[in-house]
Structure formats: structure tokens, C-alpha cells
């Protein structure tokens, strides 16, 4: 039933198509890319797009098209894993807080409020400065920043269910806490969580790009799209293709996840139109 609605919805189809293309690209990048994304060639630096180099070359003579293909893997990995991490921890914390209430709930909510009270980009910059560059660190930082978003939803779902009669009944009959949460609460939170995580991936990719652009993200020479934009900045006038194509790649990817998320929202719960 869900599948039927899903495939009828144009947005979700469009988004899914993009995501699928991206996933394929990241797996197949090393096979389809025409050049080694890390190979430098000073004699062919900053060349405009041509037959030999579809998107041109950068200031080290590296083929931009190949780098963009390889960059897909980085963006997807960072986006998906960081959201998974944040959602996992957030869901657990939100459930614990909402379920047990009292001081536990207060402290968890306090921490989550503190995290959310920082603009995400600033917090990411701060965390990355402390931890140092690296893909693992970005995933941790972005995951950390995302925790409150998922935590709040789970907590809300727990709170709304907690007082319901069938839950009281189940508890009276001796069901364990965990079972209650899993069977009764989680399904309720599923719909909003799915939407938020999908859009969360889109945001994570954007923040990673910003971090790498500032030099605090994926360390070069890895072909992260944000790194490519950072390089392109110094050659904006001489070689604008160094800026245009990585930006298009990011936009395309984020568009895919955003439309998928929007479509899922329409399908799963029209009332959720935020």
C-alpha cells in the first residue's frame, strides 16, 4: 500500500532516481572515471572543458570529472553514516528521556537544547577544530549535531503514547520497557523519522561541503566536492569550471535527497506538511 502511494508520488520517484544514480556512481566511480582523480600533471593545469577533459582540469592538472565521480562516494558516505549515527543515538536518548521523565528527561533535554542552541555550521567548525580533519571526525561531528533533531521526535512520540490505555494495559501485564518502546512507540515515530533522516542527509552533505570549503573538513587531496570548491575559489576568474561543476554536483545530490524526503513526507503522512 505504501509502495503504491510511493511510486505514484512524482517527488519521491524523482528523488529516488537521483539517489540511486548517486549510489551507483559512488560504487562504480573507480571503473568509470577516465582519469585517476589524484594524478597531477602540471603541464595540463587549469584547462577549460574539452574533449579530453569533460569538465576541464584543476590547478594541478587533475581531471575534474573524475574527481567529481570519486567525490560522490565521500559525500554519500559522510551524509548517510553521520545521519545514521545521530539518529541511532538520538532515538535512544529521546526514548529514554520521554519514557522515564523526571531528572533524566530534564538533563537529556538540556543537553539537546544546548546543542541546538548553536547554529549548526558554527558548532561543526568548533568541533572539527578540536578533533582535527578527517572523514571519521566529520561523521562524528555531524552525527553529534544531528542528535537533538531525531531525539526530539522520538521523545515526542514517546510522550504522546505513554499515557495511552493500551500501553497501560501492556505494562500492567508485565511487558518489559524495551518491548513497549519497540512495539508501540517506534512505529509511531517512524514516519517523521524517515522524513527527517532523509532531509538530514541532505543537510549533512551541505555542512560537510561548507567545512571542507573552509579547510576544516575532509582533508585534501581527497576529491571532496567542498575541497574542490575551496581550490576553485583561488581560480575563480581563470578557471571558473573548477567552481561550477563541483557546486552542481552538490546541488544535484542535495536536490535528490530533499525531493525524496519531501515525497516521503507526502506519502507517509500528508498531515505532516510541516
Amino acid at each position: 500500500m505504501f509502495a503504491k502511494r510511493f511510486f505514484r508520488n512524482k517527488l519521491s520517484l524523482f528523488g529516488l532516481a537521483i539517489v540511486v544514480i548517486l549510489v551507483l556512481v559512488s560504487f562504480l566511480a573507480s571503473y568509470i572515471q577516465p582519469y585517476d582523480p589524484l594524478k597531477i600533471s602540471i603541464s595540463t593545469r587549469t584547462q577549460a572543458p574539452s574533449k579530453t577533459h569533460t569538465f576541464g582540469t584543476d590547478h594541478f592538472g587533475r581531471d575534474i570529472f573524475s574527481r567529481i565521480l570519486s567525490g560522490a562516494k565521500i559525500s554519500l558516505t559522510v551524509g548517510i553514516v553521520s545521519v545514521a549515527l545521530g539518529a541511532f543515538i538520538g532515538i535512544i536518548l529521546g526514548a529514554i528521556g520521554g519514557y522515564f521523565g523526571g531528572w533524566i528527561d530534564y538533563s537529556i533535554t538540556l543537553v539537546m537544547d544546548a546543542i541546538i542552541s548553536f547554529p549548526a555550521t558554527l558548532l561543526a567548525i568548533g568541533l572539527m577544530s578540536v578533533m582535527g580533519l578527517g572523514v571519521t571526525n566529520i561523521i562524528i561531528a555531524l552525527g553529534f549535531i544531528g542528535i537533538p533533531h531525531y531525539g526530539r521526535i522520538m521523545r515526542g512520540a514517546v510522550l504522546s503514547i505513554r499515557e495511552k490505555e493500551y500501553v497501560e494495559a501492556a505494562r500492567a501485564s508485565g511487558s518489559g520497557h524495551l518491548k513497549l518502546l519497540l512495539i508501540h512507540v517506534l512505529p509511531n515515530a517512524m514516519a517523521p523519522l524517515i522524513v527527517v533522516t532523509t532531509i538530514g542527509v541532505a543537510n549533512a552533505i551541505l555542512i560537510e561541503a561548507a567545512l571542507s570549503f573552509l579547510g576544516l573538513g575532509v582533508p585534501p587531496p581527497a576529491p571532496s566536492w567542498g575541497n574542490m570548491l575551496a581550490d576553485g575559489r583561488n581560480f575563480l576568474i581563470q578557471a571558473p569550471w573548477m567552481t561550477i561543476f563541483p557546486g552542481l554536483a552538490i546541488s544535484f545530490t542535495v536536490l535528490g535527497f530533499n525531493t525524496l524526503g519531501d515525497g516521503l513526507r507526502d506519502v507517509l503522512d500528508p498531515k505532516l506538511k510541516q
Binding site: 594524478k39 602540471i42 580533519l133 587531496p221 583561488n234 575563480l236 576568474i237 581563470q238
Partner: protein
């Protein structure tokens, strides 16, 4: 007879007229010179800072040191009239020029000189710029209204360079003013040709002509001699982005851009509407790779030789600074007296086959070695990528580790690296230039022969002997390869066509006091 007198008179008149017209064509006074700064000033108090920008902008215009460089980069007295070094090198008498005015109209006296010489080496003064180089000065005494004597516990062979240096300029400041402000510089007051007007943080620095300037006179010889001060005002605008600077120059918002982005210099040179100069200055920063001698492979001389023979310095220079550098292995830069072209031949040349031979002797099995760098100074990063490919070509596997500048500095100082990409500020005297070959080096280099030679350099007064020892040190670095120097970067400047009065010497550090606008 009368006619002849008339003729003579006419000739005199006409020649006077002609002479007058050449005077007319001479540089005109006036105008505001607007240049860019790549970063903002860090400190107005030159005794506390070794930052290049502070010394470049304030060091020559607002402040003046006791000694400075002539056209051949010899150190000569500037604010001193004369000096005398005792035979044992332990007593330096400085006779100060009379009538040198500070910007507050007070005359510079011996007590001001003593005050400044004490201030820059005072261990209790945070950031004292010459704490180490003047460590062996026991005492500075005022021995006359215009005379100061420096008493040394040991001879300091590079003391004149220190007194002239622009890395921590010992600019003369008025004692009374500083003392009345708790030893803080609230407004820079010096003896220089231009005086301080304002510093709008992160925006600009404004200086204006010092009308009562009296420090220097005579024929222009490098930094010595007359300082004409044609411009009424100097404005230095903070423009961190190289692209903005060029745009501002194009739009006419700037008259000069003293630091050009390497990737654009070729194009800029082709333009007819700009004067572009590039060249090597004697204090050019040198870019190199350090290796940590605590590493199992990097500590082996054969491995280091393999690394050195694998590098094509010309290609690296092309990659890192688009060719606007001088590829060299030598710690003796081409413009210093100790240099000679045969030094190049002693260095490891680009020879991948030879590199592989050396590599085989070491038992290296392809383990990954880390190269530490940052991206704040792009040539530091760019030289790594170029070298990485060259090392891979002979079988040396490396991995790049990028950190931010602060971490980079810290790990350099703590020796927490394997291969380190770095740059050193060029120094004009052999001792300062070889500070990284001293026992106090940060990369665990322990070579008795090197230390002995450098120690000897520290104890000799004779510049000839010093240069000999300098060359000996260099030969040793060719054999031992304690580090691998790749290139010296060139200075560059782009000026609008109406800016006149600059020469190649000004690449070293512009003598803005002799520039002028031609209408």
C-alpha cells in the same frame, strides 16, 4: 662687442630656461599612495613583533633602525653617524646622529637609543623581538648625549645584521613617551619619513608625510640616503583575497599591489596597463622538507639521498609558485656574498635512477610515510603534492596529512612529524640563516661536525671566515641531506603606470619615500 654680450646673455637665459624645465619635469610632490596588505597588522609595537607585515608597513615608514642596507645589501649606519667595534669584539660604541627628530618633534638622544636597545632584549618584556639575538649583550650604557656603548659578554658576529634587520625591526622610539604610557605603544612614534595617522582594524593603515624629517640625507644608496617623501599620504588597505587586490588595482582603487597571486603573474605581465616586477630578494623565504631523525628510515642518509635525488626542483617550483621562484638546494641564497654558482653542482640533482639505487641500500619495503602540511601558505601544500608524485615514481610511498596552521606550527616546534613541509623566513646573515642546523633544532638532527662548524661561525668576526664556514656547512648539507630545500620564492609587485621611482631594489622592500606620481 655689444652683440656678443647680448648673445652670451641669451645663451645663459636659454640654458637657465632649459635647466628650469628639467627641474619642472622632476618628481612632483603630492598625492596619496594606496597599496594593499595581504593581512592586517598584528601589532603597532615593532619591538614586540616579528610579523612580516608589521615590519614591512611600519618598519621602514614610521620607524627607523640604527643601521640599514645599501644597494649591495651591506649593512651601514643609518641613524648612527659612526660606530666603533673594539678589537676583542666586546665593546660597540655607537655615535648617534644629531638633530634626528621624532614625530612628536622631540630630538632623538642617547637615552632613547639605550631604552630601545634594552627593550627589545628584555626577558620580562613579552614578545621582545631580539631576546635571543642580543642575549650576549651585558649592558647598554649612555656615555654621552649622543653616544651609547654596548657591552657584550661574548662577540656577536651578526650584531650589525640584528641592528639592521627587518625581522623584528629595532626601530627607535621616544623613551619619555613610552614611559608615560606604561611602556605601551598607544600611537607609534618614530623617526621615519612618514608618520602614523590611524589604524582602522581589519580595514586600513593611514600614514602621512613627516614634514620635519631629518634622519637621512645624501645620495640614495639602497635604504641609505635622502628620503624625498613625495607622497602626502600613504594608505595601506587590508585585502586578504588576491583576486580582490587585482580587481581594486584595475578599478583604480589602488596604485600598487605588493604581493601578487602566482597563478596570475603571467597574465598580469602581458598587460600593457600595469608595471609588473618579480624577482628574488636576499631575504626570500625558502621552502623545504624537514625529516624527523627519529624515524627508522628518515634517519638513514641513503634514504634521504634517495628522497633528494628523486625531486625535480624545477618542476616543484613550477607546481608550487608557477615558476616564480628560484629552484635551489642551497641554504645560501643566490644574493648573499657567500654564494657562487658552483654550489648548485654540489647538490643532489634530479636523477630517479640514482634515487632508486640509494633506496635499495636502505631495506625500505614500501611502508607509508606521512607528510605533514597545512594549506594556509599554498606553496607549502602544493610542493607536497608535486613531491609526492616524484617520490612515488621511485618507490617511496607517502601519505599527506593536512592540518591547520596553528597545529602545523606546534607540531613543527615539537618535532611531531615524519616528513614536514615548511618554509623558513630568509635571513641575511649566515648565523640566522642556519639556525636549524644548531643543536637546538626541532627535528632531532644530531651531527657533531655540523655543530662544530656552526659554533666556529658563531665565534668568528671575520666575514671572510664566516662565508667560508657557511660554504662548508652547505657542502655538509649536500652530503648529509638533513633537510631538502626546494626553492626560494620571488617577490612581486604590480604598479599602475603613473607610479614612478621604483627600481629592482624595491622588490626587497619598497622605498615608498622615493616613489612619486607622474601626471
Amino acid at each position: 662687442m655689444e652683440k656678443k654680450i647680448w648673445l652670451g646673455f641669451m645663451i645663459v637665459l636659454i640654458s637657465a630656461g632649459l635647466m628650469g624645465s628639467t627641474v619642472w619635469a622632476a618628481p612632483k610632490k603630492g598625492g596619496t599612495y594606496r597599496a594593499s596588505m595581504a593581512t592586517d597588522l598584528t601589532n603597532m609595537d615593532l619591538h614586540k613583533t616579528q610579523a612580516q607585515i608589521d615590519n614591512a608597513v611600519l618598519g621602514m615608514t614610521v620607524y627607523e633602525p640604527l643601521f640599514s642596507y645599501d644597494e649591495k645589501f651591506n649593512v651601514k649606519p643609518l641613524l648612527c653617524e659612526s660606530f666603533k667595534m673594539s678589537a676583542d669584539g666586546l665593546n660597540l660604541t655607537l655615535n648617534i646622529k644629531k638633530g634626528v627628530k621624532f614625530h612628536n618633534k622631540m630630538e632623538m638622544k642617547a637615552e632613547d637609543v639605550k631604552f630601545c636597545l634594552d627593550r627589545v632584549r628584555d626577558p620580562k618584556f613579552p614578545g621582545a623581538a631580539q631576546l635571543n639575538s642580543l642575549r650576549d649583550v651585558k649592558e647598554v650604557k649612555v656615555t654621552g648625549p649622543y653616544q651609547v656603548q654596548m657591552f657584550l659578554s661574548k662577540p656577536i658576529p651578526n650584531i650589525f645584521y640584528t641592528l639592521a634587520t627587518s625581522v623584528g625591526t629595532i626601530g627607535m622610539m621616544p623613551k619619555k613617551v613610552l614611559e608615560s604610557h606604561d611602556n605601551k605603544v598607544l600611537k607609534p612614534i618614530g623617526t621615519g619619513p612618514y608618520e602614523f595617522v590611524a589604524w582602522e582594524r581589519d580595514t586600513k593603515v593611514i600614514l602621512k608625510r613627516f614634514e620635519a624629517y631629518s634622519s637621512a640625507d645624501g645620495p640614495v644608496d639602497g635604504y641609505l640616503g635622502k628620503r624625498n617623501r613625495y607622497f602626502d599620504q600613504l594608505i595601506y588597505n587590508v585585502m586578504k583575497e588576491p583576486a580582490t587586490r587585482i580587481m581594486a588595482l584595475d578599478r583604480g582603487d589602488l596604485d600598487a599591489v605588493p604581493v601578487l597571486p602566482y597563478q596570475q603573474i603571467d597574465d598580469l605581465k602581458k598587460r600593457k596597463d600595469l608595471q609588473v616586477r618579480t624577482g628574488l630578494a636576499p631575504d626570500a623565504p625558502w621552502y623545504l622538507f624537514y625529516v624527523n631523525f627519529n624515524h627508522p628510515y628518515l634517519s638513514q642518509v641513503d634514504f634521504r639521498k634517495a628522497m633528494a635525488y628523486a625531486l625535480d626542483r624545477k618542476e616543484i617550483t613550477k607546481a608550487a609558485v608557477w615558476g616564480y621562484g628560484t629552484p635551489t638546494f642551497s641554504v645560501i641564497p643566490p644574493m648573499l656574498p657567500a654564494y657562487s654558482p658552483e654550489l648548485e653542482k654540489m647538490a643532489p640533482q634530479y636523477d630517479p635512477a640514482k634515487a632508486k639505487e640509494f633506496l635499495q641500500k636502505t631495506g625500505y619495503k614500501g611502508e607509508k610515510i606521512k607528510i605533514l602540511t597545512s594549506k594556509n601558505y599554498t606553496p607549502m601544500y602544493d610542493q607536497v603534492l608535486a613531491a609526492q608524485a616524484m617520490w612515488a615514481a621511485v618507490g617511496i610511498n607517502t601519505e599527506v596529512e593536512v592540518v591547520d596552521w596553528a597545529t602545523h606550527l606546534t607540531r613543527w616546534q615539537k618535532g611531531e612529524h615524519e616528513i614536514l613541509s615548511f618554509a623558513m623566513i630568509g635571513r641575511m646573515d649566515p648565523l640566522s640563516q642556519t639556525i636549524n642546523l644548531a643543536p637546538t633544532n626541532y627535528y632531532n638532527y644530531k651531527n657533531q661536525e655540523t655543530f662544530t662548524i656552526r659554533e666556529a661561525m658563531q665565534n668568528t668576526w671575520d666575514p671572510q671566515k664566516q662565508n667560508e664556514l657557511f660554504r662548508k656547512l652547505y657542502e655538509l648539507t649536500c652530503k648529509e641531506v638533513p633537510y631538502m630545500i626546494n626553492f626560494y620564492i620571488h617577490n612581486s609587485i604590480a604598479l599602475k603606470p603613473h607610479v614612478k621611482g621604483h627600481e629592482n631594489f624595491d622588490l626587497f622592500g619598497g622605498r615608498v619615500w622615493n616613489y612619486y606620481f607622474e601626471k
